[in-house]
């Protein structure tokens, strides 16, 4: 566009020779040189590859030319090869792989050559000169002049003129009419009412008008009947469904990750429902966009009171709709691929820019640098794929304060009851129970720990054939039990004394007692050594608010007789108040440095621990170590990480419903983590710090200094220790050894934990449970959570193994170069920048998308590409008029329209006369504008596959209009927007009609005619079934109606218009011939279902049925 002015000033008037030369020089500097630098030097430069032996970076090179002859012959454009290349006249299509040069550029070259091809570049440039001239800064500065990046300005509306269209008071009509007049094209007439109603209904709601709606419209004689129909359609819930589907195309909506296994993206449908509700509620589009980048972070979320949902948070769901490979061996490459996909979709859907093209090098054509790509990359890579919790604020907080108080009461009541038990019970019996609990299993299982055969044999009788997995499980369980009993005998176990002394007497007993006593002092306090793995204190959390708990926390069992199962050691524990809580505990990033990483964990209900390498979210196989937790007692669990040494990773613990992939909703899911460690060698003790009976008694306890106590005395000592422990636990000062002692007592049944034995606790527990049950499970949705902030190093030539300097996170330099603040990913800032008033792309791109859907072709035909590879706007002034009006209607003098309102924009456009033009072009339109780029008439359009399917359901009376919810199979009668979009298994009916890509933004559907469509419509079970159903009903309902009247009504159902007399006659003739061929007597025709099914089916097979005009 910059060049146009220069050209206009220099347009080829006859001039004296000196003036000619001066004009040539000026033209060279203003147009020719910049174009050569930008488009030609890279391949045809003195210092580069010199394709075709041609150097275009100096005058000599131009004139000598290359293998195809002189590029420039001064004064002779026809002999200048460069002209052929620029005009795409033969196979020399330059610039290679780029757009054909704009006509004004080609004209400029021609003029310049005619003027003598003045060229001051008398010698080849040095490498330094060339580098400066072709520097990104220079190129970037020039490219920023591209039309779509220029500020929005409000052009004047052309004045009215004669003619139905040009006389319209509607600005759209004036812009359209003015261009038509300038081109000498006569607009079409207004379409007939049937066509208009069907067009509006299909285009606005994706459904055909019902016979009743048609009758009402035709009967309406009021002057504003059109406006009222438009209002009705925009207010229809089906408007939102249809337009949401348009948007879903822009974000490659899908519900699986593709690849091997095609795993489900948990709750993906919630994003689809969010989209429908947002459009239904006419959420301002700037807000709509913000929510899709940072809806979870917005300080003022939209709340759906009915469902208790934070609506805004659902908007980020599309960030998860990336493809994921299956067990990639190069997870950084995988991360680059899926982050690239996010960037691709964000930049195309909102900005109409292909930022993804700048992953390996600066953009070939647009003002987008490679740094821009990595600036956005950093923002997205600072987030982690997740199942997010989208609850309205406070929804899951209710009762929590009271629950905490009740839990404190339960602790007090339990302590009271336990102290009573300890005071009353016979101590010897208690200790017997402890010993019994410690050694209850028969020995064979223990042997299996070293030899699987024993277990294998043991399980044979009840197994049809050996199940290796089961054998492995049994073997593992046996080994664990053996280890547990071994640990209990160890000196640092509170029950070691009881176990060691059991059955001993005399000297043996004394020796054992002395060993215990001396050992007690010798036991070191074993500590986990993080060794390169981030310490738990540095981990982040999501969901339920987790905190490091002192020893003695517990979970109140949500149901049943048992009040509490375990007293918990110090650690981080999920679900301490509500079983339905969900949480993710995740570490900072760290480079894997060890062969193994261990966590001291417990968990149940499909909670899982895993190592996440480069954010790859699928927990798969041996390569991505992970473990589903099914141990209520904390254990060291090891992840084998040798294969990932040097890679960036983080650790994660999550409840079952909160796994990013393979989430399992399990209300009983919980985890505890006590320690993390990357050391080699034997793991530190499970229990920390080590302790024994000697540490649990008061220093002056008589048993400590005395001889080996007899069993009765030992039991009494244990009871003394337990009493001290209960008191400390009650007061919140218990140590881990004390908690272990109590836990052991409780596990052995020596302290009552069941409601039957605890009448004083029952009421409080029941109250607690009732309240806890009222905390609903989280509203879970796909999304990302904030992780450690990462400024992404630029990858040299896109090679992820060649990182260069980190690029600060920011928006595109051409629009807003300010870096994002350091504390967070920058999604909020990115969202703000995309909808900022200073960014003209977003409103231009959005209003153009709406125009495309209403008129069948965008003002910019390439709706996803507003860069140089895209199409230029046919009506740039109209586009800007619409964009300005869209974002600031008040400034535009239409205070009744709300800013960024999709519905107001649609209403504005559909109430134009341009929308109401007939599809039949005028003679001048056919002659002068066969492509209808000037919108002189309506476009005939093939319906999208979804609309075809919905029309079939609607016309046959089978449409189930229920909105929202999890997706359904294609065989269901719900609208197509609710049909599951599984990447590897697209519904076959929809697949036949050019479905949108699930890979990237596709704002414009392809339309092809292929035999598969004919076959699915002619022979497919879906269509045949609907036709048969309709026929079955109609032979009953329309029993009294003559055949011709039935035909007439079927046409109205299918096509929303009356058939002409000839059409009825032709249809009747075909029907009669069919009846004759089938041997159906004339009298039987009215009740013959198959025959009528054929007829209904035929109406569905008409081209008119799948088109809108």
């Amino acid at each position: 566009m910059l060049f146009v002015a220069a050209l206009a000033a220099l347009a080829g008037l006859a001039r004296p020779a000196t003036m000619q030369a001066a004009a040539g020089e000026e033209l060279f500097e203003k147009v020719i040189r910049p174009y050569l630098v930008e488009r030609c030097y890279e391949c045809h430069g003195t210092h580069g590859t010199r394709e075709n032996d041609l150097a275009l970076d100096w005058a000599g090179g131009m004139r000598t030319g290359g293998a195809s002859g002189p590029a420039v012959v001064p004064g002779k454009p026809a002999e200048s090869v460069i002209m052929q290349a620029l005009e795409h006249e033969n196979d020399l299509l330059m610039p290679k792989g780029g757009p054909k040069p704009p006509a004004e550029i080609v004209r400029a070259f021609r003029t310049w050559i005619e003027l003598g091809a003045a060229d001051p570049r008398t010698r080849p440039p040095s490498a330094e000169e060339l580098a400066q001239e072709t520097s990104w800064e220079e190129i970037f500065a020039r490219r920023k002049n591209w039309w779509s990046l220029q500020p929005l300005e409000k052009p004047a509306v052309p004045p009215p003129a004669a003619g139905w269209l040009a006389a319209s008071g509607h600005p759209v009509d004036r812009f359209i009419a003015a261009k038509l007049a300038a081109a000498g094209v006569e607009p079409a007439a207004e379409a007939d009412p049937d066509t208009l109603l069907r067009r509006a209904t299909l285009v606005l709601t994706g459904l055909p008008p019902t016979p009743e709606e048609r009758a009402a419209f035709l009967a309406d004689t009021a002057a504003d009947r059109w406006e009222r129909v438009v209002d009705r359609l925009i207010a229809s819930p089906h408007f939102a469904e249809h337009w949401a589907r348009h948007w879903l195309d822009c974000v490659r909506y899908c519900e699986t990750h593709g690849s091997e296994g095609d795993p489900t993206i948990p709750h993906a449908w919630r994003y689809r429902d969010w989209c429908i509700r947002a459009i239904r509620d006419d959420v301002p589009v700037d807000r709509f966009i913000r929510e899709q980048l940072a809806g979870d972070l917005l300080p003022d979320p939209r709340i759906d009171r009915d469902t208790g949902t934070n609506e805004s948070a659902l908007g980020i769901g599309h960030l998860r709709m990336v493809p994921h490979g299956f067990t990639p061996t190069d997870p950084l490459d995988e991360m680059v691929t899926f982050t690239d996909n996010q960037i691709d979709v964000i930049s195309k859907a909102f900005l109409g820019m292909t930022v993804s093209c700048a992953r390996c090098h600066n953009h070939k054509f647009d003002a987008i640098s490679q740094a821009d790509f990595y600036a956005l990359f950093g923002t997205l890579a600072s987030c982690r794929p997740a199942v997010i919790q989208a609850d309205a604020p406070g929804r899951r907080d209710r009762h929590r304060a009271e629950l905490a108080t009740l839990k404190q009461s339960i602790r007090g009541l339990l302590a009271e009851a336990w102290l009573a038990t300890l005071a009353a019970g016979p101590p010897a019996a208690l200790v017997e129970k402890l010993i019994a609990a410690a050694a209850p299993l028969p020995e064979p299982a223990a042997d299996a720990g070293s030899d699987g055969k024993a277990v294998q044999d043991a399980v044979k009788p009840d197994a049809v054939k050996p199940d290796p997995q089961r054998i492995a499980r049994e073997k593992e369980a046996a080994a664990k039990e053996k280890a547990r009993r071994q640990r209990m005998r160890e000196v640092d176990h509170p029950f070691a004394a009881a176990l060691r002394l059991e059955g001993l007497s005399g000297d043996a007993r004394s020796r054992a007692w002395d060993e215990l006593r001396s050992g007690a002092a010798a036991v070191p306090a074993a500590q986990a050594a993080p060794g390169g793995v981030p310490e738990l204190a540095a981990w982040m959390q999501y969901g339920e608010r987790l905190a490091a708990s002192p020893p003695g926390e517990f979970r109140v069992e949500p149901e049943g007789e048992r009040v509490v199962t375990r007293l918990l050691p110090a650690g981080i524990h999920s679900n301490l108040l509500a079983a339905s809580d969900g949480s993710v505990l995740h570490s900072p990033n760290f480079p894997v440095a060890s062969d193994e990483i261990r966590l001291l964990v417990a968990g149940a209900g499909r909670s899982r621990m895993r190592i996440v390498v480069w954010n790859y979210p699928r927990p798969l196989g041996l390569l991505y170590p992970n473990q589903t937790l099914a141990n209520s007692e904390p254990e060291w669990i090891t992840l084998k990480t040798a294969v990932w040494k040097g890679e960036r990773a983080h650790l994660e613990l999550a409840t079952g419903g909160d796994l990013a992939v393979e989430a399992v909703d399990d209300a009983g899911s919980w985890f505890s983590v006590l320690a993390v460690d990357s050391g080699s060698g034997p793991p530190p003790a499970v229990h920390r710090p080590a302790a024994s009976l000697f540490d649990l008694l008061s220093a002056d306890d008589p048993v400590l200094g005395g001889p080996a106590p007899d069993p009765a005395a030992l039991a009494v000592a244990y009871v003394r220790a337990a009493r001290r422990a209960v008191e400390a636990w009650r007061d919140g000062t218990a140590t881990d050894p004390q908690v272990r002692l109590l836990d052991g007592f409780a596990a052995a049944g020596a302290l009552p934990c069941d409601l039957g034995s605890l009448p004083s606790v029952r009421e409080t527990v029941e109250r607690f449970r009732a309240l806890a049950r009222e905390i609903p499970p989280p509203v879970r949705a796909p999304g990302v959570i904030e992780g450690p902030v990462v400024d992404q190093p630029l990858f040299v030539r896109g090679n992820h193994k060649q990182p260069a300097a980190a690029v600060p996170r920011r928006f595109l330099e051409a629009l807003d170069p300010r870096p994002f603040p350091p504390a967070a990913s920058g999604r909020l800032e990115l969202a703000a920048a995309i909808v900022a008033g200073s960014n003209p792309l977003t409103p231009r791109v959005f209003v153009n998308r709406v125009w495309h859907h209403l008129f069948g072709r965008g003002i910019v035909a390439s709706v996803d590409t507003f860069g140089q590879m895209g199409d230029p706007p046919t009506h740039p002034e109209l586009l800007d008029h619409l964009a300005v009006r869209f974002v600031s209607p008040a400034a535009d003098g239409v205070p009744t329209q709300r800013p960024w309102s999709l519905k107001d924009l649609v209403r504005f456009l559909v109430t134009s006369r341009t929308f109401r033009l007939a599809a039949r072009p005028t003679e001048s339109a056919t002659r002068l504008d066969p492509g209808n780029t000037l919108f002189s008439h309506a476009r005939l359009r093939r319906l999208e596959g979804e609309t075809i399917r919905d029309s079939l359901l609607a016309a046959s009376g089978r449409l189930d209009r229920q909105p929202f919810g999890p997706s359904v199979p294609g065989g269901a009668a719900r609208r197509s927007v609710y049909v599951a979009v599984r990447r590897n298994a697209i519904d076959p009916f929809l697949a036949a009609f050019d479905p949108p890509s699930t890979q990237s933004t596709q704002g414009r559907r392809d339309v092809s005619h292929v035999p598969a469509q004919s076959l699915v419509l002619m022979n497919g079970d879906f269509v045949r079934g609907l036709a048969t159903e309709r026929a079955t009903r109609l032979v009953g309902e329309w029993r009294e109606l003559p055949c011709d009247e039935r035909i007439r009504r079927l046409f109205v159902e299918a096509l929303a218009r009356e058939p002409g007399t000839e059409e009825v006659a032709a249809t009747r003739a075909w029907l009669d011939a069919l009846a004759a061929r089938r041997g159906v007597p004339a009298a039987d025709v009215p009740g013959h279902v198959p025959l009528w099914a054929d007829l209904v089916h035929a109406t569905y097979n008409l081209e008119e049925f799948i088109h809108v005009d």
Binding site: E260, D262, R983, Q999, H1009, P1011, A1012, L1015, V1016, A1098
Partner: protein
């Protein structure tokens, strides 16, 4: 600039979206002349492709790439560091259990895994230095089919059909054969997709032994009734075309319906093998006791019949025995029990493929039919666990025959252990560049503007493997 979104893009309009000179060539193809004739492309050496896709990954060190060093170092760890494997369960160097022998006049060494294919060694150009980029099935399958590791890009069959147009009006240009329990590989039917190319270039799944063989191909009414219905609909459609000024679009639709109508007869005729002699059926192995072999034999015979009818791109699907990890979607994938698994898989395809080569040759079809045998990757020279091999994309073997390929040649080599390609390293981009070259198309010129970029089957890579061309 790029495009005008007319509501209905005719093939010619679609082709107009192709940026470079190839668009013209492709239109020429539609008009019945070979694509390259008008565009200065390479000479046409093949008119169609039969793609014998070995899904799951055949072990090259057990078939087409002899490595005596494996026996010498059996049981030892790999002498150099290796890349990550998908199952991270690497064992030691595992020798082959099949004898390699020199075959035919050319002396190419091929193992006893494929004795009957080996008998055609003089027809084969074996590439022992093929490399892929992904060591997992889905990405690997999409990559070998489309040049990209994720769905949404056109398959080589779609590019071929798009570039050359169709020779036959009654059958799709790109047919994927299945029989028995065969299914699409991991990555799904996107491996056969048209991506952003026109929908009529996508692979049509044809089940050789099912009724109906093609989805929705069987009419529910007699032919005469359907004919009458189509005539009625055509008349009504033309009326609509006149009213909506859409005569062209409606005529295009009517032609499509007519094509579909003819397909309904052509497809059953295609799969009806009654006209084939018993000798021919026996040659392929249709009578094999192994039902998977018989089913694969049917695919091979149908491949010849499709080639005769001018279908551009024919892809075959192996069947599984569910041994050692090799299942329906990845039959060759013997992570365990490689000996048993590969033996059965090889027996399934060896005779039918040998018969196909012989039959094509005998009928003079091999001259202009390019047969490509390849999997998405090879397998590791070291074991996975005790008796399997893991995926290895770093160097493996494929072969081509017919269609202007120089038979009896070997290109490239892997290292001493067959782990990594080291000589004349080839890529799957090179494979397709070569295939397109034989079809008379310069792979750099077969482009389609999509999403602001000129897309290619070979992305920004690919070199024709001239050394194996006659």
């Amino acid at each position: 600039m790029s495009t005008d979104s007319l509501p209905t893009l005719s093939r010619r309009q679609w082709l107009g979206r192709s940026s470079a000179g190839f668009g013209l060539a492709a239109v020429a193809g539609v008009l019945g002349r070979p694509a390259a004739a008008s565009a200065g492309g390479p000479p046409v050496r093949a008119k169609r492709v039969i793609f014998l896709f070995m899904s799951g990954g055949v072990s090259h060190v057990d078939s087409f790439d002899p490595k005596p060093a494996l026996a010498a170092r059996a049981g030892q760890p790999m002498p150099f560091p290796v890349e990550r494997t998908q199952f991270n369960n690497n064992g030691t160097i595992m020798p082959t259990q099949w004898e390699f022998r020199r075959r035919g006049g050319c002396g190419t060494e091929i193992s006893d895994l494929f004795p009957e294919i080996a008998a055609h060694a003089d027809k084969l150009a074996v590439v022992r230095s093929m490399t892929a980029k992904f060591s997992e099935h889905a990405q690997g399958n999409l990559f070998i089919h489309t040049g990209f590791p994720f769905l949404g890009s056109p398959s080589a069959g779609a590019w071929t059909t798009y570039g050359l147009g169709r020779e036959c009006d009654e059958l799709p240009g790109y047919v994927v054969l299945q029989s028995g329990d065969a299914g699409p590989p991991h990555g799904g039917v996107a491996c056969y997709g048209n991506g952003f190319l026109p929908a009529d270039t996508q692979g049509s799944l044809l089940r050789c032994d099912a009724d109906p063989p093609l989805r929705d191909i069987r009419p529910w009414e007699e032919a005469a009734g359907q004919r009458a219905r189509l005539d009625y609909l055509a008349a009504m459609n033309r009326r609509f075309g006149g009213r909506a000024a859409a005569a062209d679009a409606v005529e295009a639709a009517i032609r499509t319906h007519e094509t579909a109508f003819r397909m309904q007869a052509a497809v059953p005729a295609l799969t009806d093998l009654s006209a084939e002699t018993e000798a021919t059926k026996r040659l392929y192995g249709l009578d094999a006791e192994d039902k998977q072999q018989a089913a694969y034999a049917r695919q091979c015979l149908l491949a010849r019949r499709l080639a005769e009818r001018g279908v551009r791109f024919i892809e075959l699907s192996c069947l599984a025995y569910n041994i050692g990890g090799g299942n329906n979607a990845n039959p060759w994938d013997n992570h365990g029990k490689l000996k048993e698994g590969h033996e059965k898989m090889a027996r399934q395809v060896d005779r039918p493929i040998a018969a196909l080569l012989a039959d094509l040759d005998q009928r003079g079809l091999l001259d202009d039919t390019l047969v490509v045998w390849a999997g998405e990757f090879g397998r590791t020279p070291f074991s996975q666990g005790s008796d399997g091999r893991d995926h290895n994309p770093l160097g493996y073997s494929i072969w081509m025959a017919g269609g202007g390929v120089k038979g009896g040649t070997v290109l490239g080599a892997t290292d001493e252990l067959g782990y990594r390609a080291v000589e004349d390293v080839a890529t799957l981009y090179d494979l397709w560049a070569t295939v397109l070259h034989q079809l008379g198309v310069d792979h750099e010129n077969l482009t389609f503007r999509h999403g602001g970029r000129d897309m290619r089957l070979t992305d920004v890579h690919g070199h024709v493997l001239h050394k194996i061309l006659a």
